[in-house]
């Protein structure tokens, strides 16, 4: 059965789409994964999310133990699953993270920065949402750090100021270090996928997934300062579920009176 499942995966690889730039919202429902090669666990984080979201137990090639699946399995498809590079996040992002509705990125992080393949990528210079992207997950330390300048790194202050929220609906991640204690990282990405499948809104889905992932470490030994999640989001689209992501027409950019960036976070 495992072999049959792998055959199914191989077919997915055979038909995986080439990177095609997306210049606007489209009606497809796609997700993608981008993995820094700097630690093995990053691969697990991204794959566990992608595999759960795409886990269609009614497909005869899949070796699942149940016969019930989520509507997401039928409606969404995996468009990309790549070893990560800076170009995918900043520069050529319209062919990569900004060509899908939901992008899941894992690697080492620092405030508004991700390390991909040993290179530091400045997320503050990215423009997300002018392509297809609505939701991006940074499964890493500190990318969503909430110091006094956080909004200025994420929100445009003029029509020419390039910042990530340019049609992007929400960015998910950690405002502190991400302590992977006792498998919590992979648990979190699994749980996040399940929360989306069960119709949680994306914001609470991530928050609760992080809480669930740290099922052990906060109880055994309390380490102040680690594993605190944050979600930056456009106020208007703060309650979106995955079914809303590709609807289009909800993008908000600089100049709109609805261009209000909020944060849902654990202090």
């Amino acid at each position: 059965m495992i072999t049959m499942k792998r055959l199914g995966m191989s077919l997915g690889l055979l038909v995986s789409l080439a990177a095609v730039p997306a210049h606007a919202d489209d009606t497809d429902r796609q997700y993608g994964g981008y993995v820094s090669n700097e630690e093995t666990r990053f691969q697990g984080y991204v794959w566990d999310f992608l595999e759960e979201i795409g886990n269609d137990c009614t497909n005869w090639l899949n070796a699942c133990s149940d016969l019930q699946d989520s509507w997401i399995n039928d409606s969404y498809s995996q468009a990309q699953y790549f070893w990560g590079s800076c170009a995918q996040l900043v520069g050529s992002n319209n062919s990569y993270v900004d060509s899908v509705d939901l992008a899941y990125v894992a690697g080492h992080g620092s405030p508004s920065s991700m390390s991909m393949n040993g290179t530091s990528c400045n997320i503050a210079d990215a423009s997300y949402g002018d392509g297809d992207l609505e939701t991006i997950v940074f499964h890493s330390c500190k990318v969503l750090q909430m110091d006094s300048a956080w909004r200025s790194r994420w929100r445009s202050s003029s029509a020419t100021d390039v910042r990530p929220f340019n049609g992007l609906h929400q960015a998910l991640g950690f405002r502190t270090n991400h302590n992977n204690g006792v498998g919590a990282g992979a648990w979190t990405s699994d749980e996040f996928a399940e929360n989306l499948e069960d119709g949680y809104n994306v914001r609470v889905g991530w928050y609760d997934a992080v809480e669930a992932g740290y099922w052990l470490s906060p109880y055994s030994v309390f380490i102040e300062g680690d594993n605190k999640q944050a979600i930056f989001y456009v106020h208007k689209t703060g309650n979106e579920t995955m079914s809303n992501l590709s609807a289009g027409g909800n993008d908000v950019r600089f100049g709109s009176s609805e261009y209000i960036i909020d944060a849902y976070y654990r202090p």
């Binding site: 055959l7 990309q80 069960d198 106020h235």
Partner: protein, 399 residues
């Protein structure tokens, strides 16, 4: 799904041609990942050099040098002391789970119609999710009570009121009868200060105990854990002052058995600070024990035996650090160890939990890593905790 099936048919021919190549590639993936996931990895053996930044091969996939891990003298001594003692397992009360399930279902029924909700079985967590967009809602409060049959006996406001918008409600129930979760996608409409921490913990404990979900004994204690805040930082629409408001309080209880933490038992409630409504309930792996049935798994050891056992425990610890970090690890200093319990399907077993300060290639400065080992058996019992773990597929090179 039809689309996917069509793709399957269309891909059969291509699959036949690519099958041999694919299997060869898959074997390669297994071998690479095996070093990172196998529990039988030999410390210090088979180390490979990390690839350069130009390669996209994972840098953390191979075995590391065990000499990178150092133990503080206090930790080393604590391992010997633990090894010197007798170890025991404490069985769970056999018939507790069905009763807990009945009560949890009774409480959940105040928020979701389980008869008509959509159900989905998770193949990852071995649990069933019941989901429903409810059109009316009767709030649950910490003072509400249900009887052993799951019927309400005291509700502050049991009358369901219509909602302006449907509200997604999710109830989850583990197949083993020990994990339950209820979540209402409901948020506060006005600001509130919330409950003071000790009052919050006391009320949460009352909710679980007086509803028959948890029980306390001299040895098996329910203690205040933490009251966590969820906050929303709101940007003012037209240059006004930013607002930062409390959105939810998550009240966590902790369990101790013979004064040591049971690390995977969890009971928590999420409460809206303005109304005091309970919008989340979680109860996981917190089953009463049958202390009379406890069994000794290791007798007290002599000094020599204890030192040998401590060496084996240290090896297990090193292996777990290796599994977590691979060759990305630069150094690891084990700073603290805690003796604790872990609830398995059948009982409480002793475990050791370590705080490790690690320096990892590519990261700024050292960070913490929490590692747990099962002194008497397979460590994956702790790390996977019933979750089905599948080997990850390797990403492709981007075009």
């Amino acid at each position: 799904m039809r689309k996917r099936r069509w793709l399957v048919v269309a891909g059969i021919a291509a699959l036949a041609a690519s099958g041999i190549i694919w299997f060869a590639r898959t074997r390669g993936v297994r071998a690479t990942n095996g070093a990172a996931t196998s529990t039988s990895t030999q410390v210090g053996a088979g180390a490979t050099s990390a690839p350069g930044a130009g390669s996209n091969r994972p840098m953390g996939a191979a075995s590391m040098d065990g000499g990178k891990v150092t133990l503080s003298p206090e930790v080393a001594q604590a391992l010997v002391e633990f090894a010197r003692k007798a170890w025991k397992n404490v069985p769970l009360v056999a018939d507790k789970n069905p009763r807990t399930r009945g009560i949890m279902r009774g409480i959940a029924s105040a928020a979701i119609d389980l008869e008509h909700a959509r159900s989905r079985m998770s193949s990852r967590f071995l649990r069933t999710s019941y989901t429903q967009d409810v059109k009316s809602d009767a709030p649950i409060y910490l003072g509400d009570r249900w009887g052993p049959d799951g019927r309400p006996t005291a509700r502050r406001d049991a009358a369901a009121k219509p909602l302006a918008e449907p509200m997604r409600t999710v109830y989850r129930e583990g197949a083993d009868g020990t994990t339950f979760g209820l979540a209402k996608m409901k948020e506060q409409t006005t600001a509130g200060a919330g409950l003071e921490a000790s009052a919050a913990s006391q009320q949460a404990k009352g909710f679980f105990v007086e509803n028959g979900l948890l029980a306390e004994s001299t040895a098996d204690r329910i203690e205040p854990g933490e009251v966590r805040e969820r906050r929303i930082s709101s940007e003012a629409p037209s240059g006004g002052a930013e607002k930062d408001v409390l959105a939810q309080q998550d009240i966590l209880l902790r369990r101790t058995y013979e004064d040591k933490l049971v690390v995977n038992s969890r009971a928590s409630v999420g409460v809206l600070p303005d109304s005091g409504e309970v919008v989340e309930i979680r109860l996981e792996r917190w089953t009463a024990v049958d202390a009379a049935g406890e069994t000794t798994t290791k007798a007290p050891s002599s000094e020599g035996e204890a030192r040998s056992t401590a060496t084996l425990l240290e090896e297990k610890l090193r292996r777990q650090i290796e599994l977590d970090l691979g060759t990305a690890l630069v150094s690891a200093q084990v700073e603290h160890v805690e003796e604790a319990w872990f609830q398995t399907d059948t009982g409480l077993i002793p475990v050791l939990v370590f705080v490790v300060r690690v320096v990892v290639a590519g990261e700024e400065g050292p960070r913490n890593l929490v590692v747990a080992i099962n002194p008497g058996g397979d460590d994956s019992l702790i790390w996977d905790q019933g979750r089905i773990v599948r080997e990850p597929a390797e990403p492709s090179e981007a075009p």
